[in-house]
């Protein structure tokens, strides 16, 4: 093989190697950026807020911890309530995936207890007791979808769910949800959080 051709092959191999090791983060970041643009352009922000924060006046929060892309896509194609339908003609699956990537990149909200303007420490007890801890987790992570008293909102009612699943079943579902529920463990919820909130939910009547 001529030296120039060997060099060319080596360069080509090196280029492929670089491509193979290009961080997927770059592609993800591109999706996040594109997703943010689509989120604004397609009007999602109008009801759900530019950062997915939602409003009781217009639409539920979508972030942080958004629905999995499959659940989001299914809902957008056949929404419940008053959300207008987005067909694939006006919002493709690819667009939705990028929007979901954007929402998934929204950082976690600060803890309300760390914000002086929100009264600092929770008015609910900050006791280490598991029942109080479960309530705190529920309020912070579950209430926005399942309702302040567990009666349901965007998400289903959890009242009497223990009769169907039991505490261990609730724990299991929180760790590995299916359908539209976002996966919060272990990124958002610790194991002790899961156990505490399951105990709390099991007592909802």
């Amino acid at each position: 093989m001529k030296p120039i051709r060997m060099i060319a092959l080596a360069v080509s191999a090196l280029a492929c190697l670089i491509d193979m090791t290009s961080p997927p983060a770059m592609a993800v970041q591109a999706d996040v950026h594109a997703g943010q643009g689509l989120y604004m352009k397609k009007g999602c922000y109008e009801c759900h807020g530019p950062v997915g924060q939602g409003s009781i006046m217009s639409g539920p929060a979508l972030a942080p911890s958004p629905l999995p892309v499959e659940a989001m896509t299914a809902y957008v194609r056949s929404p419940k309530g008053q959300m207008p339908l987005y067909s694939s003609k006006i919002l493709s699956n690819r667009d939705l995936a990028q929007i979901q990537a954007y929402l998934a990149a929204v950082p976690a909200s600060p803890d309300a207890d760390s914000i002086a303007l929100l009264g600092g420490a929770s008015t609910a007890s900050s006791s280490k007791d598991d029942s109080e801890r479960g309530q705190q987790v529920y309020v912070a992570r579950c209430a926005s979808c399942h309702g302040a008293s567990g009666g349901g909102a965007v998400g289903p009612s959890l009242v009497d769910v223990a009769k169907r699943r039991g505490v261990s079943g609730i724990e299991s579902f929180v760790r590995n949800p299916s359908g539209a529920m976002p996966k919060l463990f272990p990124e958002v919820l610790t194991e002790s959080d899961v156990q505490a909130v399951a105990q709390y939910v099991a007592r909802l009547r």
Partner: protein, 644 residues
């Protein structure tokens, strides 16, 4: 209160029955002797000095008018206790205008100078909800009344008293050519008759007096509503004819209608026997005593209260305030007590904004729905503010606030011991639900906490931080800021919140805030207005009115640079038609170029800063603005915000 006003009020109270007394009545005249005038007794003095204009000397020459009719009209305003008259100047009421400033010295009443008649009426609207009594607004015949009409409609829907006085020139031979014909109507009241409770066009000053007292009384009787009096230009400007023949009927308030005893007892039986009662209040409470009565009733039956915020009906920190659990409470309720609920059908169901507009009911089929409202006693039909018809289980025509005391008495008489025990056992779960509700709001508020544009939650809490230790009041609707104030602040006084537009007419917010601020100034309070941008652009001139009259008012913009509600509507249309949802912002943004609201406010003579888009800058800016407000002047911050 000035000595003069005290005197006049006492004179009215003492001499009311003498108002029709004519001079020398009852005094025997000696026969065949020169007639003598008896010395006036106390009652005659009271009758004659109540209306000093009737004592004014007519002019000695034809070049002057010494006792104009408009002086008498202003006396009526004073006798009614009307402290302010809002007006953009107009020639058809030039007589009254001059009487206010010269005869009354621009005090009680004092002029509130406006740059649009709609502002005049909306200022009167906001004022009345705080002051508990009406402001008058003067409007210039046809064109002025047309301008004011939307604000009058808003007040009508909102059940607020207002005295609208419109100039007009009835005698065609007295109208100057051109403009005075365009500015005259045969039936001026027809322009607003569908949304006023009473209107009249008096043809003499005695007629004017009787109509004025009737109009004021009707306006202040629940359901309270705007009224219109036409003040004929000639009647204003000509001398008072036969002043000694004129008398003013006394101002006597009408006792508000109290619900019937049998109906209240039936209601009490339902509440006492309920498993899941709910009390829903809308435009029910108008005084602190009324709020205390509602709290007492709710506590007596341990019923959660949903405050629809037409007024501030229930303290937000009370454990029975469960407003943001409304959906599940209504769906589970076996007894719902609705107090002056403006849309009873909408409380129990909805028409979904989807293709086909299907109806959806929220309530149990066998729910007992009790409605107490003055709307059953008075209504009109052209404007559809009565909402969709629903026949409740028990419809009670009566004033909700006036009926609370008797209802509580009925509850205390009817409830059995076992029922009281059942109610008592509800309390722990209700307390927990309230705590959860408030905690959920705290955590929801953390989303987008540090975002730019600034989140409405962050905006609300930064404002709360600078007002919470003052004698504060929120004078704007909280609907478009996701009701964060009611979800997070501590409201416990009725005057701390006055609801919204009534008829959802855009343009209410800024002037109503100014009107409310006038009443709060008189009470020594600090008002804050969280002002939407689209609303401000309807009547920006009220910023000048606030600066001109040095009205302490903190205005913080909720500037999302859009008619955001309409953006969502247009996007919905696009989605329905499988077309570009991005077109939702076409024709609905207030941008490109963005409006410099701080510059606008400064141009009107008001201290202003902004636009502020970094949440970290908001607290210090609010502190600077509050210094101005506490020093007695209005202050303005332009804040770029998230949409909702």
């Amino acid at each position: 209160m000035t000595a003069r006003r005290t005197f006049l009020k006492e004179a009215i109270a003492a001499g009311a029955s003498t108002a029709l007394l004519k001079p020398n009545a009852g005094v025997a005249q000696p026969i065949n002797k020169a007639p003598s005038v008896a010395k006036p007794g106390a009652r005659l003095i009271a009758a004659e000095t109540q209306v000093p204009s009737l004592q004014e000397a007519p002019s000695a020459d034809a070049a002057h008018i010494g006792n104009p009719g408009s002086d008498f009209m202003v006396d009526l305003l004073r006798m009614a206790g009307i402290d302010y008259v809002a007006a953009m100047p107009g020639s058809t009421f030039r007589g009254i205008h001059e009487s206010i400033v010269s005869y009354a010295g621009d005090q009680h009443p004092a002029l509130v100078v406006c740059t649009h008649e709609e502002a005049s009426a909306a200022i009167a609207h906001g004022y009345a909800k705080v002051a508990g009594k009406p402001m008058a607004c003067l409007v210039h015949s046809t064109v002025g009344l047309q301008h004011a009409s939307m604000a009058i409609f808003n007040a009508w829907c909102d059940r607020v008293p207002m005295i609208v006085i419109a100039g007009n020139i009835a005698d065609a031979t007295k109208r100057r050519p051109g403009v005075e014909w365009y500015h005259t109507a045969l039936d001026l009241g027809a322009l607003v008759r569908d949304f006023t409770k009473y209107d009249d066009a008096p043809v003499s000053l005695q007629h004017y007096a009787e109509s004025f007292v009737r109009a004021y009384t009707l306006s202040m009787t629940p359901p309270m509503e705007p009224v219109l009096l036409v003040a004929d230009g000639e009647l204003q400007e000509r001398p008072i004819e036969n002043p000694r023949e004129i008398s003013v009927p006394p101002f006597r308030p009408v006792s508000p209608p109290v619900a019937g005893r049998a109906a209240l007892e039936e209601t009490a039986r339902m509440l006492c026997g309920a498993t899941n009662p709910v009390i829903v209040a809308d435009r029910a409470i108008r005084s602190q005593a009324g709020m205390d009565a509602l709290v007492a009733l709710a506590e007596a039956v341990n019923a959660p209260v949903v405050d629809l915020l037409g007024r501030l009906n229930f303290p937000t920190g009370h454990f029975l305030n469960q407003t943001y659990l409304k959906t599940q409470l209504i769906s589970r309720a076996d007894v719902i007590l609705a107090l002056e609920v403006s849309d009873l059908w909408g409380l129990t169901g909805t028409v979904a904004d989807v293709i086909g507009r299907p109806t959806k009911k929220f309530t149990k089929p066998d729910v007992n729905l009790v409605s107490v409202s003055t709307s059953y006693l008075y209504s009109k039909s052209n404007m559809q503010d009565a909402e969709r018809f629903i026949a409740p289980t028990l419809a009670i025509g009566g004033d909700a606030q006036a009926s609370l005391g008797p209802l509580l008495e009925a509850v205390n008489a009817v409830c059995t011991a076992p029922q009281r025990e059942t109610m008592r056992k509800r309390a722990p779960a209700l307390r927990q639900a309230h705590t959860l509700m408030r905690e959920t709001a705290r955590h929801d508020a953390t989303r987008a906490w540090d975002a730019s544009p600034i989140s409405t939650a962050r905006l609300s809490q930064e404002v709360w931080n600078v007002i919470r230790h003052e004698n504060w009041a929120l004078v704007s609707s909280s609907l478009f800021i996701s009701q964060w104030p009611q979800r997070l602040w501590d409201f416990d006084k009725t005057w701390q919140y006055i609801g919204g537009e009534g008829g959802y007419g855009v343009g209410y917010g800024a002037p109503a805030a100014v009107g409310a601020a006038i009443a709060h100034r008189d009470a020594g309070r600090i008002p804050v207005n969280i002002q939407t941008d689209g609303d401000l652009m309807v009547l920006p001139g009220v910023l000048w009115t606030a600066a001109h009259h040095k009205i302490p008012l903190l205005t913080v913009m909720h500037n999302n640079r859009a008619y955001h509600q309409e953006s969502m509507h247009i996007q919905r249309m696009a989605n329905w038609r499988d077309r570009k949802p991005e077109n939702g912002t076409a024709g609905t943004l207030i941008n490109d170029p963005p409006i410099d609201y701080a510059g606008l406010a400064r141009s009107m003579g008001m201290w202003a800063e902004g636009p502020i888009s970094n949440p970290a800058d908001l607290g210090p800016a609010l502190a600077r603005a509050m210094q101005r407000v506490k020093a007695g002047e209005p202050a303005f911050l332009d804040v770029l915000t998230q949409p909702r």
